[in-house]
């Protein structure tokens, strides 16, 4: 009997699916031992890089003089676009993202050149010594100018169902709105970083803090005019990413790779926080117009949307992001006649990119605003109007893109949350408070979330895993997903532990590595566990099947009589530990290593018509938030939040809870204190935590009641029937925005429609209050 195994027919393995075990690295996080890219012991002769950035939004580079840079202490090399042997591109979809500006700069902060020196300080100081002469060109700095001048990174798209114009004309009531919605910096705590090591024969090994090692590998190889086989990319963990290291990490890795190749020295590029925020993309800001027709109950008969996003200077992932905006401007609501126009504006600002929700939050913001307006106009509780518009069950259940919503649990969630949050009583309390309080006003809002799970680009919905079983029964686990804090590695290990029926401690979780699992999709779209969990499970099942066959033969029982349970394997009357069986199988020359592969079933989607089934299933949730505002200053506090969220059958309730709460607060930050502010020269002036304010501890309400839907169960065959949880909770933060709007409305008469821009900073709230007062 293996000493480590604890066979116990009645119990279950440690870390089985559904158990709330801590994050696999938590003991390393708290002791400072978790190794991030900048913590890896630096190889001999390492050079440190810094990047010289454009100071102009749109200009031709007339001349560059690096004499002083080269003479600066410690400087070893200067790299410009001319020195790139291969493709000068790090764009993920369209090749329009230069690594180093090729004679034309298109935003303030764009990488123009890189310097290698012996220390970080030397490199950063030397960068400032470059003399670059520009010839300014006319910049496009905002969305309205882009629309007016037809400046787009990608063609405008339209999705229409029914006859919207006719529905609007016929409707009993009609409202129009024009909304301004700000962007958001990912503000991962660990800035962008890569360490590139030259290897023999011109090969490169790159440590990259990236959600997409495979793409970094391809782009680094191509920039060097080499092949994917020549480059290996590894990432054990990121200090946060939130979409910001999906495509953007490639720029940093490419620069490090190019310099390493040129100098034949290990090269590390770690962006300073300010450089990171100036140089890398953010959540898209939007201008949204809507024109909605509805009946006396507030039920929408037709809605005409115009979404225009600031994509920045290149396409990056803006195509898929804006598609997702179109797919989510229904949120939880059936829109019988709908027209969605989506402009992807090109501006001379940083190229915007993925951020948790990936365009979905902006779509939802639009429809929630329209519904809020409808309710206020009809003098109804917004919740009542929201419910009147919910997708139906068996009817009114087809999305604008022709997918049938067949897993709708909106009413179940709503009924439960309305009850547990005492929504009705508190609505009355708020009204009473506001009637008596002239300066402080309270607001309450309930907002639902329905979020589609899958990459909308169907081909990305695949994953691979690699699993080795050693003769002591321990397991080496690898898959194409990356760990950014979301607990993916823990959850996938739990899946394998459960499948093989061994304690999770017996599984070594290993770094994402392009040489172990090739061509992996980005860890994005909330799909990490769905895809990689299934792939790892498949690998485990392959090995389990081989071991089962072997045990059946060895113990002369039917395969059906071989049972894996709690670190042991039962074969008829015989019981051996998992480790023993592994050793026996090895002696018998049974292969103990396997890959696993998964591709999401059922999905199909035709982008040319925006129709089909882009999503395998939907995740649902809802939040009730209550706020108080000071109508003299616009300041506010969130007083109480109630959340009910659907994780299917949760693989790890503790980790899922962390995603729900963390996502919610991040969403609240987006819509409240996080303001990106550019001056009229196209310079971003909020590029550090001193000026860009993400939520802190005191912004989190003391009364914060978060529940995972107990009856949650994915109707589709996902890994252990769980649901993706990375992105959907972010949009629960909308409830705080609409609670603020509710409080502002209390300043005016019933039926007033306060215009509140997002982010709803104290300034924005005061402006809305003043506007409401001015109309009285």
């Amino acid at each position: 009997m293996d000493a480590h195994a604890k066979p116990d027919a009645g119990g279950s393995v440690a870390g089985a699916a559904g158990s709330a075990i801590p994050h696999d690295s938590s003991h390393l996080h708290v002791s400072g031992e978790a190794t991030y890219t900048d913590d890896i012991p630096e190889p001999r002769g390492v050079l440190h890089l810094a990047v010289g950035m454009s100071t102009r939004p749109h200009a031709r580079i007339v001349a560059m003089d690096f004499d002083a840079v080269r003479r600066a202490p410690g400087v070893v090399e200067v790299l410009t676009a001319d020195d790139i042997p291969g493709d000068n591109n790090c764009g993920p979809v369209v090749a329009d993202d230069p690594i180093l500006a090729p004679g034309l700069v298109q935003y303030v902060g764009q990488a123009v050149f890189a310097v290698a020196a012996h220390t970080v300080e030397q490199a950063r100081k030397a960068v400032a010594l470059a003399r670059i002469e520009y010839e300014d060109l006319e910049p496009v700095l905002d969305i309205p100018t882009a629309i007016a001048t037809g400046s787009f990174v990608l063609p405008t798209e339209t999705l229409e169902r029914g006859d919207t114009a006719a529905a609007l004309d016929k409707a009993a009531h009609r409202l129009r709105g024009e909304l301004a919605l700000g962007g958001q910096d990912q503000f991962y705590l660990e800035g962008q970083i890569a360490l590139a090591l030259p290897r023999e024969d011109g090969d490169l090994f790159v440590y990259s803090s990236t959600q997409h090692p495979g793409e970094v590998q391809h782009l680094v190889a191509h920039s060097l005019r080499r092949h994917s086989k020549d480059v290996v990319v590894e990432c054990r963990r990121m200090g946060g990413a939130f979409g910001g290291k999906e495509s953007q990490a490639a720029l940093i890795a490419c620069i490090a790779g190019l310099m390493a190749d040129r100098t034949r020295k290990p090269c590390k590029l770690r962006l300073d926080r300010d450089v990171d925020m100036l140089m890398t993309g953010k959540r898209h800001d939007f201008i949204i117009h809507y024109d909605v027709g509805f009946d006396d109950n507030g039920r929408i008969e037709g809605i005409d949307f115009m979404f225009a996003s600031r994509c920045g200077m290149s396409a990056d992932l803006s195509g898929a992001i804006n598609d997702r905006t179109m797919f989510h401007c229904d949120n939880a609501y059936y829109l019988p006649n709908v027209k969605i126009l989506s402009h992807r504006c090109k501006t001379h600002t940083v190229s915007n990119t993925a951020f948790r929700g990936f365009g979905g939050p902006q779509g939802m913001f639009g429809i929630e605003y329209a519904i809020d307006d409808i309710a206020r106009y009809l003098r109804k509780d917004p919740l009542e109007v929201r419910r009147a518009n919910y997708y139906g069950v068996g009817q009114r259940n087809v999305t604008p893109y022709q997918q049938v919503v067949d897993d709708n649990i909106l009413e179940e969630i709503t009924q439960k949350l309305v009850r547990t949050s005492d929504y009705a009583e508190r609505r009355a309390e708020v009204r009473e408070f506001n009637a008596q309080s002239p300066v402080l006003k309270r607001g309450l809002a309930f907002t639902p979330v329905k979020f589609g799970i899958s990459f909308t680009a169907t081909h990305l919905n695949q994953a691979g895993a690699l699993l080795h079983v050693y003769t002591d029964g321990t397991v080496h686990l690898n898959h194409g997903g990356t760990e950014m804090g979301q607990g993916l590695f823990t959850k996938v290990a739990q899946v394998v532990a459960d499948e093989l029926q061994i304690d999770v401690e017996r599984i070594k979780i290993t770094a994402s590595d392009t040489s172990k699992v090739p061509n992996a999709s980005a860890t994005a779209a909330s799909s990490g566990t769905d895809l990689n969990g299934k792939a790892a499970q498949a690998a485990a099942q392959t090995i389990k099947a081989r071991l089962t066959r072997f045990a059946a033969e060895h113990f002369r029982v039917a395969e059906s009589a071989v049972v894996f349970r709690n670190n042991a394997v039962q074969a008829g009357d015989a019981t051996v530990s998992f480790a023993e069986l592994a050793k026996m199988a090895w002696f018998a020359r049974v292969p103990l290593s396997s890959t696993g592969f998964y591709s999401t079933p059922k999905i199909n989607y035709d982008r040319s018509t925006f129709s089909g089934r882009p999503f395998y299933y939907f995740a649902y949730g809802a939040a009730v938030s209550e706020v108080i505002i000071d109508t003299l200053t616009g300041e506010y506090r969130t007083l109480r939040v109630d959340i009910l969220h659907d994780c299917g059958r949760s693989l790890n309730p503790a980790i899922d809870m962390g995603q729900i709460e963390g996502g919610f607060i991040q969403g609240v930050g987006w819509l409240t204190s996080e303001e990106l502010w550019w001056n009229d020269q196209g310079e971003l002036k909020t590029h550090a935590p001193s000026t860009y304010k993400i939520p802190v501890c005191s912004d989190v309400p003391e009364d914060f009641r978060v529940e995972i839907l107990e009856s949650g169960l994915n109707r589709e065959d996902t890994v252990f029937r769980s649901k993706a949880v990375g992105e959907p909770p972010l949009m629960l933060g909308l409830s705080v925005f609409y609670a603020l709007r509710d409080a502002i409305a209390a300043v005016g008469p019933d039926g007033c429609l306060p215009g509140l821009r997002a982010p709803a900073t104290p300034e924005a709230v005061l402006a809305a209050v003043s506007a409401v007062r001015a109309t009285q």
């Binding site: 708290v30 503000f187 705590l189 200090g239 950014m484 000071d630 200053t633 996502g663 204190s673 005191s698």
Partner: protein, 509 residues
């Protein structure tokens, strides 16, 4: 008269006395830890003291001969200022048997880490809390963590850990690290640590040379004046919470740095001659209790003044001398009629703070002169003092507008003295003289508020920037006058009126 000089610094790390010569005066503690010692637990998240990923703890022996712990930001603390202190980093907390510290264990148990990058900083801020508070309320926890940003968790599990950590401690331990805050006698481990720290205290002036750079840490005002005379271009360094950024962000070379933190006279504070006297090197954290005792109305402002690691390093003198238009102490000091005692080799002079600021980042300091003391007259009976800070985020944010008000009423309710000052509305913090003139001698009324608001619009021409538009600044500055009279009348009628910051939250006992 020059003091004896030493060319080395000594501090304690993990029980070992570290002695350094040839120290770059502006090398940060974080650079030293990560790059020199390859001790990479402490992280760089912003290099400006705003995210807390680099938080470490300094332990020093107090006047009570006990060991006191305070969190600071390693990213902007210059290495030579560690002289005479014990440095604790996240690596210091694990037991020799590898066991996690109660704070670390609570973070694991409560699922307080996700990506883990901010976690070492949180652990150290929680450790400081563990050593300084016993059963912290939510407000105390929020305050202790105000300087730490987490982007993953939404903070709830970290708050849980802050409560659970006391329960994770094994029974009373002889290990000072493991013992939570208590009023009990010092353990033998604490005594050992105190002795070790005492063994590296010295009365010498630290004088380091590093290439062409120099660092001095004098012990007396005379010597400081002398050094400033000899090195007129020297940069005075107090908490380094601003100067640190010149180095980490602007990559400026500071050739000569004179540290004020070891000058005995500058480190004292007290009440004398009906005034609070605060030495220029007294940290904000040290000054707060004294200020609050006499000016309880500053409670919210001081709670929201930067973050604990910044307040633990930054000084009131530095905030005042720096003279930023958005510095949070000055509006209150201006309405309190505070004075500065300025000192140079030629002697001392006193200058009202209102006359200290000449223009944007220009003040009345002469060459070779430094701020020695801030003198704040005690409030008179009948004084109504209020301060309001308006920013995008309540904690650890820079003011869009900061208003301070002191009104003295006579028995008839007439305003006999009005002092109004604002930060964020002009190139320097300054008084609103036109507004004051309107209020002087008047009886509060809605009409008076309107007139005062009108006058205020003539007092200031604010600008628009990333923190706020000129229009918002103007509007809020005026609205705050309305808030002021509401608050005063509520207080006079005994009605409780809490500001939005504390709404619905239990204030600390």
């Amino acid at each position: 008269m020059s003091n004896h000089r030493t060319d080395r610094i000594r501090f304690i790390l993990d029980g070992t006395v570290i002695e350094l010569r040839n120290v770059d005066p502006t090398r940060t503690v974080l650079q030293y830890l990560r790059e020199d010692l390859h001790r990479t637990g402490s992280k760089e998240g912003c290099a400006e003291g705003d995210c807390g990923a680099c938080t470490v703890v300094l332990a020093e022996v107090g006047k009570d001969n006990r060991l006191h712990a305070r969190a600071i930001n390693a990213c902007i603390q210059f290495l030579p200022t560690l002289d005479g202190k014990e440095l604790l980093t996240v690596e210091s907390l694990r037991g020799s048997d590898g066991s996690l510290h109660p704070v670390q264990q609570a973070m694991v148990n409560c699922h307080g880490s996700q990506c883990g990058f901010c976690t070492p900083g949180f652990v150290m801020s929680l450790f400081a809390l563990y050593k300084n508070a016993q059963s912290p309320s939510r407000v105390t926890i929020d305050n202790a963590l105000a300087g730490n940003l987490c982007r993953c968790t939404g903070y709830r599990p970290i708050v849980d850990a802050a409560r659970a950590m006391y329960g994770c401690a094994s029974e009373r331990s002889d290990n000072w690290l493991l013992a939570a805050c208590s009023s009990g006698p010092a353990s033998s481990d604490e005594k050992r640590r105190v002795e070790r720290l005492q063994s590296i205290q010295h009365g010498d002036t630290v004088a380091l040379e590093y290439g062409a750079k120099r660092y001095f840490a004098p012990r007396s005002c005379n010597e400081l004046a002398e050094l400033l005379g000899a090195w007129p271009d020297a940069r005075l360094l107090a908490g380094g919470t601003d100067v640190g950024l010149w180095v980490t962000k602007q990559h400026r070379e500071l050739d000569t740095v004179i540290y004020t933190g070891r000058v005995t006279e500058l480190c004292g504070q007290g009440v004398a001659d009906d005034a609070i006297n605060i030495g220029a090197a007294v940290t904000l954290a040290e000054a707060m209790p004294l200020l609050l005792r006499h000016f309880p109305a500053l409670h919210e402002l001081l709670l929201r003044f930067a973050s604990p690691p910044i307040r633990n390093a930054g000084t009131l003198g530095g905030n005042v001398a720096n003279g930023s238009p958005i510095g949070d102490s000055m509006p209150a000091l201006l309405v309190a009629d505070a004075c500065l005692r300025l000192r140079s080799a030629n002697g001392t002079r006193e200058l009202p703070l209102a006359k200290f600021y000449l223009d944007y980042q220009k003040n009345a300091l002469r060459t070779g002169e430094f701020v020695e003391q801030i003198i704040i007259p005690l409030p008179s009976a009948g004084d109504e003092l209020r301060t309001y800070k308006i920013s995008k985020r309540f904690d650890q944010d820079i003011s869009a507008v900061c208003g301070a008000y002191r009104l003295r009423f006579d028995d008839d309710g007439r305003i006999v003295e009005a002092r109004i000052a604002y930060g964020g509305l002009a190139a320097t913090p300054r008084r609103a003289h036109r507004c004051e003139a309107v209020l002087q001698g008047a009886l509060p009324s809605t009409d008076l508020t309107h007139k005062a608001q009108q006058a205020l619009r003539e007092d200031f021409e604010p600008i628009s920037d990333m923190r706020a538009s000129d229009q918002y600044r103007r509007q809020v500055a005026g609205n705050l006058l309305q808030r002021l009279f509401m608050d005063i009348s509520a207080a006079q009628s005994g009605a409780e009126l809490t500001g939005i910051y504390e709404y619905g939250r239990a204030r600390e006992a």
